[in-house]
Every structure is written in C-alpha cells, then in structure tokens.
C-alpha cells in the first residue's frame, strides 16, 4: 500500500496497463506534451513515446472515432475527454459506433475502448462544465459506466476498464483528483466492474451515493450517528452494470433507503435505483425510498447558487431523518 492522490492512482493504472499490454495507448487533447489538463497523463509521453501517447486536435467526435476504429483493429485505446462535458460532441461515436458495433457486426468487432475524464459538479465551472454526464451513457445498452470515488477504486477500476473487451465510460471528478488514499501498488490489483462497496456499515438506513456525494453523505452519517441514526453507506462504483445484489442486500437489512445524486433528479440514477429497490425489496421497505438530487436547473456560476443547486448536507440529513421517521 502507498498513500497517493486519486490523480496519481489513475496515472499509475495507465502506466501499469501500458507496460503490461503494448496495445494500450492514450489519446486526447493535451495528454502528451502538456501531460494532461489535470495531469493524469503526467510522464507518460516520456516513458511510452508519441506513438502511444497521442495529442489530438480539439475535435472530440474525430478522435473518439479514431479510437473506435483503432479498437476495431485490435488496439486498446484510452481516450481522454478534457472534461466529460465535451463528450457530448462525441456522442454519436460513443453511442452509435462504440456501443453498438459488437451487436451490429454480428459479434465480429468488439470495441475495447475506455473513454475517461472528469465530470460532475466541481467548483464554479458553471452550466456547461458541471454536468453529471453519466446519465447520458448508462441508458445506452452496450456501454459500461464507472464512477470511482476513491484513489484505490480509481486505480483498480481503471485497470479493469482497460482490460475489458467492451466500451467503458470512466468518469472521474475534478474535485477528487487531489484526494489522497491508500492504493495497492501490486500491478495485478484490480477491482471488478459491477461491484458495489459498503463504505460504512449501519443498521437504520441505506444511503446510496458516489463521488463527491459519497463523501458528503459520509459526513452526514457521522453527524447523524450522534443522534442515534445508524447509516449504512453504499457506493455503487459501477453504475452499469449495477451491483443490485449489494444495494438490495443492504436495504433488506436496514429497510430504508436514500439515494443521492449530484445531477438533476428527473430520470436520474436515483430514479433507477429507487425503482430497482421497490421492485426487488418492496416487502422489506419501512418507508418510501427518498431521493436527494440536484435542482432541476443549469448549474449557476455564482458560488452561493452553485451550493444551492447541489444536494447539501442539510438536505441529505433531512431525507435520512424522513425515512427513519425521526
């Protein structure tokens, strides 16, 4: 184990996988000479050269298409979105090419591509750069969607994503790059996709949250423990495929659930998880599933309004108390 930042953990995962498999290469805006807008690809150009660390023009649709083509021909591209908000420009390549190629080619072409970069609300990045982009992707059959909350998860899940033979959307977070944590240095350490984790054990209510919301929920859980409410915090880590077994297992234990998501709530991850819970665990519920979501509005630039739009600790605590009838 070594203590490192989330950013360093991602860098280590890329390095290890590029050393392990010569087909793995990195491509994106400023990933080479500039070493990444958020320095995730630091030192890669020096170690692996410009054939495997490719700087591209500012043209998401174009270079994502190049990545899909390279994957069809047997390479394993890791395409960086400087922020995931820019992936909207590449939606056609991701949704219509990467996600459907295996199906439409009758199984002839699988697309082992990873598209990664930061997403979700950060700090005053305003309306166009603060979106929880996962909602655009987990709806699409053929895509796997990962949201790793800790440095260890970032490393273990990125390695699994790179080794996966199908397209994986891997969304990090600007606000988590500097978070430090213990990370296994073993180059064989991976975390399987589709495996949730219980971050904190509790008995009264299951709170489901990932990324920044997971950390916020953790703080709330500690505060509510003083009131005698025991929160179990589950981090899904992979949104698709979803580890419903772990989620439902926890709800069966606590009989109550609160789902938190940073993005606007309509048809969001909270809706999906709430629906899953009532389908699978209806008879175990002692209260309706509560959702705490971002407000239905573009992200304001003003700091005070930004705070109002995202789920606050107070809102999370209120939802937990509500389902606990406390």
């Amino acid at each position: 184990m070594a203590v490192m930042t989330y950013r360093e953990a991602l860098n280590l995962a890329l390095r290890e996988e590029m050393r392990r498999d010569a087909r793995v290469f990195v491509m994106g805006e400023e990933v080479g000479l500039y070493e990444g807008a958020y320095k995730v690809t630091q030192g890669l150009l020096k170690e692996f050269g410009d054939k495997r660390v490719v700087d591209t023009p500012i043209a998401e649709s174009g270079f994502t298409g190049v990545g899909v083509g390279a994957a069809m021909l047997g390479l394993r591209p890791v395409v960086e979105m400087m922020t995931f908000n820019f992936s909207i420009l590449a939606l056609d390549q991701i949704v219509n090419s990467a996600a459907k190629m295996l199906y439409m080619s009758g199984g002839q072409y699988n697309i082992p591509i990873v598209i990664r970069g930061p997403g979700g609300p950060a700090a005053q990045l305003a309306a166009q750069h603060s979106q929880s982009m996962e909602v655009y992707f987990y709806h699409v059959p053929g895509l796997k969607v990962v949201r790793p909350s800790t440095p260890a998860d970032a490393k273990g899940l990125l390695k699994s994503a790179i080794r996966d033979d199908n397209p994986v959307i891997f969304i990090e977070a600007e606000t988590l790059y500097a978070v430090k944590g213990e990370v296994p240095e073993d180059p064989d350490f991976t975390i399987p996709l589709g495996q949730a984790v219980v971050r904190r054990e509790g008995t009264d209510v299951t709170v489901i949250a990932y990324m920044g919301m997971m950390y916020r929920a953790l703080e709330v859980a500690e505060e509510l423990a003083k009131e005698g409410i025991s929160v179990e915090l589950v981090d899904p880590r992979t949104l698709r495929p979803m580890d419903t077994e772990t989620l439902i297992g926890s709800v069966r234990k606590t009989h109550r659930a609160v789902v938190i998501e940073a993005g606007a709530g309509f048809a969001g991850m909270g809706s999906e998880i709430a629906s899953e819970i009532q389908e699978e665990a209806f008879d175990d519920l002692d209260a309706p599933v509560e959702r705490v979501t971002g407000e239905n509005a573009p992200m304001p630039y003003a700091r005070n309004l930004e705070l109002l739009k995202t789920p606050s600790k107070a809102k999370i605590a209120e939802a937990i108390r509500k389902v606990c009838y406390a």
């Binding site: 009989h255 209806f282 008879d283 175990d284 519920l285 002692d286 209260a287 009838y325």
Partner: protein, 451 residues
C-alpha cells in the same frame, strides 16, 4: 384556509367532551395529522389530530373545559388569515347526539349567517379509522358488513404483522399521516403480555401470596358525595336504558373444562406462541357458537316504520374489562375467522390498553355480542346486563375443581358456569339454550377451537 376545530363525536353515546389538555399552544404551527389535543369522552381519553394546516390560531375551550359535541373548540388557520369572523361567530348549537351524519336540528339561532355545525368527523378524526365508528347506528341494510378502512402501513410493517399475528387495524401508526411502520408493529409485538386475566385456577390463586386483609380506618365524616367520572356517568345512564326496556331472561349451563384446561396447558408449552387464557378460548368458542346460532348474534331495532331484528354475520365480541373507575368493553373484531393465537395476542393488547385508557374509539364500538368474566374474582356464577343494541351477553364464572359424577363414579373435575342474558324481544329460551349447548360442546371438545 381556516379550519374550525369542533368537539369531535367520538362514540355513539358521546354528547359532551372535555378537553384534558392542548398539546399545541396558540400560534404553534400545525399540519394535518398532528396530535393537537387530548379529549376525555365517557369511555376513554382520545388524542385528536389536526385536519387542516396552518397554525393553531386560537384556543376557544381551554384545558378542563367541557362542551357539547360539535362546539367550536379551536381555530386552525394560516397566520395571515383573518379569523375574527369565525372566532366571534355566535356559539353554534351542539351537534345532535345521534349519528353524526344526521342533519343538525334547526335551532332558531342556527338560521343566522353562522355556518351550520359540521358533523364532527368532517373536521376531525381521532385516528384515521375513527370516522367509520358508526356502522351500528344508522339504519342500513341488516346484511351490511361494517365498513372497513384501508390500513396505511409500510410493506415491512405488513410483513412483520402477518408473521407475528398482529392485527394492523389495532395498531396506531406513528409515521406520516398515521402510517404504521416497523417500530409500531414491533411495539405491539413486544408489549408486555399481562398475566391471563381469565379464570386463574383456584389452586393457583391459593398458592400465590395473598395481600393482607386490611380494613381502612373509619373516616370522620358520615358520608361524602363523589362526583361521577364520565365513565361512571355513562354507565349510570346507559344501564337503565338496558335493564328497564330490554326484557332480560337468563339461561345457565355448567361446562366441563377438563379438556380445555389440558389443551391450554399444551398450547402454552409451545415455544414462541402467545399465552392462551381460558377467556381466549371462551371468546373463540362464543364466536363459533354465534355463527351457528345467528339468532343470538342479533339486535332488536326499534324503528318508527316498524321494528326489525338485525342478524349479524360477523362475530365482533366485546369483552368487559374492570377498571378502577368503572368498566369498559373493548371489541375484538371478526373473532370467528381469527386463530386462537391471534385472539390471545389481540385481546391481551386490548385489555392492557383498556387499563391504560389508551383505547381508540373504534375499538370500543361495534360489538355484536359481549362477554363478562368475573372468574378471576372467584365468582361462581352471575348474570350480566345486556349492552344494547346487542341481543345477549355471556357471564362467565371461575373454573373450579369440584366433585363430579362420571360413569356412576365420583371424581374430581374442572367446571365452569356460564349464564347467558338474552333479550326476549330478539330470541326465546330455546335459542339461548341451543347457543349454550353449542358453546358447551365446543369447550368440552376444545380441539374444535383449533380447526
């Protein structure tokens, strides 16, 4: 919006109610479902919930005040609403004491601009189920089953209740809008089970340490007049309404309880089952005998258009519970279809809450038959007064060991005497006798109670 809080009509016989205490102060915010006050009726103390939302703007009847049903006791309104018109309105005449749905009698003063008195239930409910308390009074078709109201409970609460044999209709929900949630069912399940109130064996009674027999000192005054408690007043008023107009007759039977006694011991040796008392077995046996003898499960109905006998197709049995200040008769519903274990659990819960005066109104009305058991006071036999509109009541004595003759030999047996008081307008001696015959058979072949 302005919501008038009226003295709710919480039972058929209730004419006045006393505000015991307000649980909200003037100015406190109130939302629908909040418990705002405790009301003392002739039968029980009842918490009442707010119907409208806003703030408790004005308390008209202070704690301790007693007013007729339908009287304005408080006003709930938004802080911005002008309530002067409402609070200054002349006191409305009390709602009629009869069925709440009946129109108010047109008192001369009521023709003014003041709103006609609302039936209490439209404004208030003591619990979600209370507004369905009155199925016995209105002249509806005899076959009509008591209206049941959907019980709001979380899926988990329903599951636990089903597993534990808890009747959710008897559980008070603590969740939003009265939703029954897990903790409510668990509380009902873990409520301490009182020792069986029914007919303890005389032998056991001897074995238990007996309290010292102390005659209290003689007071100085020659006598004192005690004010009637609301419950005593209700009894004093209701009983002559039974004994005088209802022509009572009595039939008595002695039942061999040996096998029932053994069965009860066996049942109580089973792990994880509620303890079954003799009363529980008598309740179950009565329910079955009532279904077989519908003539006993019947009420006489005087009606200007012509009297009728209402035959009940459900066995809702009231069981008298002695209290310090009188007695109260909680009702076990649909006893005929409930297993003995459930009857035991529900009856225990009802009796316990009866002693704590925490019964809800709908648990006190709607009986089609009653049982009074004085066995625990070593009473051999007695006769009870019918509780109108029911047609009969069974008085149960103690189970005693005594010499009995069997196959020409004298041996020791356990016997229990029961006396059925019958309304002669509804049934005749043979009707009551056949009921007792069936009751005797059920208790003497008690496995039938388990079928």
């Amino acid at each position: 919006m302005i919501t008038k809080v009226l003295m709710p009509k919480l039972s058929e016989a209730m004419e006045t109610g006393k505000v015991i205490k307000w649980l909200k102060k003037e100015g406190d915010p109130v939302k629908g479902g909040d418990v705002i006050a405790e009301i003392e009726t002739d039968k029980a103390n009842v918490e009442i919930e707010a119907f409208g939302s806003g703030a408790l703007r004005k308390i008209i009847v202070d704690a301790g005040g007693q007013v007729p049903v339908g009287e304005l006791i408080a006003i709930i309104a938004d802080p911005a609403d002008d309530i002067s018109a409402v609070s200054a309105a002349p006191q409305k005449p009390a709602a009629p004491a009869a069925a709440p749905a009946a129109p108010a009698p047109a008192a001369p003063g009521a023709a003014s601009t003041a709103a006609p008195p609302l039936p209490a239930m439209e404004t208030y409910q003591s619990t979600p189920a209370t507004s369905r308390v009155v199925p016995m009074t209105p002249s509806i078709a005899p076959a009509a089953a008591p209206a049941t109201r959907r019980v709001k409970a979380s899926p988990l609460a329903k599951k636990i209740a089903a597993q534990g044999g808890v009747d959710l209709r008897l559980v008070q929900g603590s969740g939003p809008g009265g939703r029954i949630v897990r903790r409510d069912v668990e509380a009902a399940l873990s409520a301490p089970r009182p020792a069986p109130a029914a007919a303890p064996a005389p032998a056991a009674a001897v074995a238990a340490p007996r309290p010292a027999f102390v005659v209290p000192p003689r007071p100085g005054a020659e006598f004192e007049d005690m004010a009637l408690s609301p419950m005593r007043a209700a009894i004093a008023k209701q009983m002559p309404l039974s004994k005088a107009p209802v022509p009572h007759f009595y039939v008595t039977s002695e039942i061999a309880m040996d096998r029932a006694w053994e069965l009860r011991s066996e049942l109580n040796a089973l792990e994880g089952q509620p303890r079954v008392s003799v009363t529980d077995m008598v309740i179950k046996a009565c329910a079955l005998a009532l279904l077989k003898n519908p003539g006993v499960n019947a009420s006489f109905r005087s009606d200007p258009q012509g009297a009728a006998i209402r035959v009940h197709h459900r066995a809702h049995i009231g069981i008298a519970v002695a209290l310090e200040q009188g007695l109260i008769t909680p009702v076990l519903r649909d006893v005929d279809v409930k297993p003995l274990s459930q009857i035991a659990a529900e009856w225990r819960d009802l009796a316990e809450r009866a002693r704590a005066q925490k019964l809800r109104v709908q648990e006190l009305s709607g009986a089609t038959f009653s049982i009074s058991n004085l066995g625990m006071f070593d009473v051999d036999e007695f006769s009870a007064i019918i509780n109108p509109p029911e047609g009969a009541i069974l008085a149960v004595g103690a189970v005693v060991e005594k010499p009995v003759v069997q196959d020409g030999e004298i041996r020791v047996g356990r016997r229990m005497k029961v006396t059925l008081s019958c309304d002669h307008r509804v049934m005749d001696g043979a009707t009551g006798a056949r009921f007792l015959q069936d009751l005797k058979r059920l208790l003497e072949e008690p496995l039938r109670l388990l079928l």
